[in-house]
């Protein structure tokens, strides 16, 4: 334990001496915890748009299934539903009508959300170059500093991604010690697009939906999702 603390102090001091922005190193994989195969959660989104004062704020829910894909549903202030299947198909649901997304951006978005929410390490490592630096938190009046979170920069490797975005920053909030193991983890995803506009999403897992049998039924049990959305994801007739 003493050894661990002394390492953290040494890291803090080194960070302060070198300047935080310079202290970054590359990783092969993200330290994503095992999330389970099926879960749901909520998100809030803040989008900077050049020309508008202040960010555009929205909120909604999501559902993830490791074999089926993601339902991303914005509820406020607009209603918008996207279904991104693992197999690559992407749909937009408007007034109970599903439209196939043909644009490359729609498909890229689906692949990105599936790999980030599902913690698909291989997909992420294949698509991005990962670097990290610790976010240091020092208590006021105390010299004790500790890493409160790790910020991971995901720089796209592929041209298809580079065309749309410059970098994705992931903020994997560390569960506080008193919260103990098993506490749900919130993930901050900040996306810098090619026009230097940030979109920041905070997603929090709220419910585990384990059990692979009758996945579509478990999906429709999620509050705010309906049968049509779940059927579209699970390819149910």
């Amino acid at each position: 334990m003493m050894l661990k603390q002394s390492r953290i102090v040494a890291l803090c001091l080194t960070s302060l001496m070198l300047g935080l922005s310079n202290l970054s190193y590359s990783l092969d994989q993200l330290p994503l915890p095992s999330q389970g195969c099926s879960f749901s959660g909520s998100f809030t989104q803040s989008k900077d748009v050049a020309g508008l004062v202040g960010p555009l704020l929205s909120a909604g829910v999501f559902y993830y299934h490791c074999e089926a894909g993601v339902i991303w549903k914005t509820k406020s202030p607009v209603s918008q539903i996207f279904v991104f299947r693992k197999t690559g198909e992407a749909y937009k649901l408007q007034q109970q009508t599903a439209t196939v997304l043909k644009s490359a951006q729609g498909k890229v978005l689906g692949r990105l959300l599936n790999s980030l929410i599902g913690g698909d390490q291989n997909q992420i490592a294949e698509q991005f170059k990962i670097t990290t630096r610790p976010e240091i938190e020092c208590q006021e009046g105390s010299e004790a500093c500790k890493p409160s979170a790790e910020i991971y920069s995901l720089e796209p490797r592929k041209r298809s991604l580079k065309r749309g975005l410059k970098v994705i920053e992931l903020n994997l909030a560390q569960p506080k010690e008193e919260e103990g193991e098993g506490q749900s983890m919130s993930v901050g995803i900040s996306i810098l697009d090619r026009k230097d506009q940030w979109t920041r999403i905070i997603s929090s897992k709220t419910e585990n939906l384990e059990g692979l049998t009758d996945s579509a039924l478990r999906c429709s049990e999620v509050v705010s999702l309906n049968k049509q959305e779940c059927d579209l994801l699970h390819d149910a007739p």
């Binding site: 020309g51 960010p55 910020i151 940030w198």
Partner: protein, 559 residues
């Protein structure tokens, strides 16, 4: 006029031509152009000056354009291979690398920005006419607040609804406009190149081909990619290479044949001098004269010109044969020889000169090349023949007479009536064939036999990249803009009705730039978006009333 005086005149002409061609030869030696332009074997077309200028410009562009397609199993390798290839190609002085399709798309987007209010896609026009403004507000709001699956080409200030981005994307997707960026699909990328110097020059082609082969081979060995080529240049370079081989084959083959024949007939190395001097001077003079008049010598002209050897050699043979028959004081024999040779020259000149009536410039060049070559070779033999015969040549007295008599004896047995019947039958048969089966092929493509690999490569590139080709254009004229549009619509109507062509294969700028009245109408329709109380004002009002969520009051990530 006696023989000596005539001979003096020929010698003066020979010396004059020799001096002039030597001076001119030295002048053109540094700027020698062996041309491989395929247009030379296409008939010239009668057009207006503007059309001809446009076609010439287009042809020049096409001749200079090269496309390299890089394909691979993964995007990264293709991307890195492209970077390396671009880097290597930028060091070749003969080439310019054209901007990528992404850069061109950016330019197009910026260029079209001032005119965005006059453009609408068909769907957008229908949406505005149906007048459902609220739906447009909600779509724009959803796109702003939610996830945006559509690319925004313009910033919010220029396009708050994302409307004009959608117009441009819809227009770019229009297959009739021929602007869709197909290269973005799959793991392919295309490098567009322009040859700045010597696209149709044989020597420059060889140097460029060698350099291209080296850099392409390097990239293909460094990365798991294949590089395919497209462009008239590669076909021309291959045709030039094949022609060069043909020239070598014809020259070496006929040269060896002539040497053997001469050695066999005259049994002396001395007999080789006059034939080879006459061939060298004839071909040299023909080359210089053609270069002087046309500015270059086409490779096909040289191929045809190589066949002159067979005719030119006859002059020396006649001279040697008759020169060894008489004696120096017997002028009548020499006079008869000169007369016969002059007649032979005249018939050959008339035959070759007839080619100049052809519409194909390649044949006109062959006519000039052959006539000049024959004249100079003939003059060489007439003027240098006596000098070559100073050493007595002994002709074969056994084998040749025997061979001639062996061939002619059976023919002499055929009676004149039979000869007449055979000749008549041949004439009738030939006429029937010509009249009924037309066994002629005047397609210039018969001159070229492109390799299967090159054609396969061209097809592969054509499948993923758009580029233009010569000779596939229709120019629509009209008294004013509207007239051009009307005729364009009419033409497309006829094309669709004909069933002979697929209208989708015709691309035109007019497919995505509507006519003036349509542009005015589109502009007025967009008043619903930008006018007082319009969609944009409603959207801005809705955005300003949104209450921020507390979670967003602090920054999420310290960037």
């Amino acid at each position: 006029m006696n023989l000596n005086r005539i001979l003096m005149l020929w010698r003066l002409l020979f010396i004059a031509l020799l001096l002039i061609s030597s001076v001119l030869g030295l002048r053109i030696a540094s700027e020698l152009q062996i041309d491989t332009n395929l247009a030379d074997v296409s008939p010239s077309i009668q057009n207006t000056l503007e059309t001809r200028a446009a076609i010439a410009q287009l042809t020049q562009n096409v001749e200079q354009r090269i496309l390299l397609l890089i394909s691979g199993g993964d995007d990264d390798s293709v991307f890195e291979a492209e970077q390396q290839l671009r880097n290597r190609l930028s060091k070749l002085s003969e080439l310019s690398i054209l901007p990528t399709s992404e850069v061109l798309a950016e330019k197009l987007t910026e260029g079209i920005k001032p005119f965005r209010f006059s453009l609408l896609s068909d769907d957008q026009r229908a949406e505005l006419i149906s007048g459902n403004a609220e739906a447009i507000v909600q779509q724009a709001k959803a796109s702003l607040f939610g996830l945006s699956e559509q690319i925004r080409l313009y910033p919010f200030a220029d396009d708050p609804l994302g409307w004009h981005s959608n117009t441009l994307l819809a227009l770019l997707d229009n297959p009739s406009a021929g602007l869709s960026n197909v290269e973005a699909v799959g793991f392919n990328t295309v490098i567009n190149l322009r040859i700045d110097y010597g696209a149709m020059n044989m020597n420059a082609q060889q140097s460029l081909m060698t350099n291209l082969n080296i850099v392409i081979a390097e990239v293909a060995s460094d990365y798991p990619v294949t590089v395919d080529r497209s462009g008239v240049f590669f076909f021309v370079a291959q045709a030039a290479k094949d022609s060069k081989q043909d020239i070598s084959r014809i020259t070496i083959g006929s040269g060896i044949g002539v040497i053997l024949l001469l050695l066999f007939a005259f049994r002396s190395l001395h007999a080789l001098l006059l034939p080879f001097i006459s061939i060298a001077l004839g071909v040299g003079f023909a080359f210089i004269a053609t270069h002087l008049i046309y500015g270059s010598v086409h490779v096909l002209t040289i191929v045809f010109g190589a066949s002159l050897i067979g005719i030119v050699i006859d002059y020396s043979l006649h001279y040697f044969y008759h020169g060894t028959q008489g004696n120096e004081t017997d002028n009548s024999e020499r006079q008869a020889l000169h007369r016969a040779m002059l007649l032979s020259l005249m018939t050959s000149l008339i035959g070759y000169a007839a080619l100049s009536f052809s519409d194909l410039q390649a044949l006109q060049k062959v006519a000039l090349f052959s006539c000049c070559g024959l004249l100079m070779a003939w003059l060489s033999v007439i003027c240098l023949g006596d000098w070559a015969l100073r050493r007595t040549l002994t002709t074969d007295k056994k084998v040749f007479p025997f061979l001639v008599s062996a061939f002619s004896r059976p023919l002499k047995l055929i009676k004149p009536v039979a000869w007449a019947a055979i000749s008549g039958a041949v004439v009738v048969a030939a006429t029937s064939i010509i009249l009924f089966s037309q066994p002629f092929d005047d397609d210039p493509r018969v001159f070229f036999n492109a390799s299967e690999a090159l054609i396969a490569s061209e097809r592969k590139v054509a499948a993923v990249a758009n580029d233009y080709e010569p000779g596939r254009y229709l120019i629509i004229h009209g008294v004013n803009d509207d007239d051009v549009y009307q005729r364009y619509e009419q033409l497309f109507g006829l094309i669709s009705e004909s069933g002979l062509f697929d209208a989708g294969n015709f691309t035109s700028l007019l497919a995505w730039i509507p006519n003036k009245s349509q542009q005015n109408s589109d502009y007025l329709l967009q008043e619903k978006l930008y006018g007082d109380g319009g969609v944009v004002q409603k959207l801005l009002a809705e955005i300003s009333t949104q209450t921020p969520f507390s979670e967003f009051n602090k920054p999420i990530i310290m960037g």
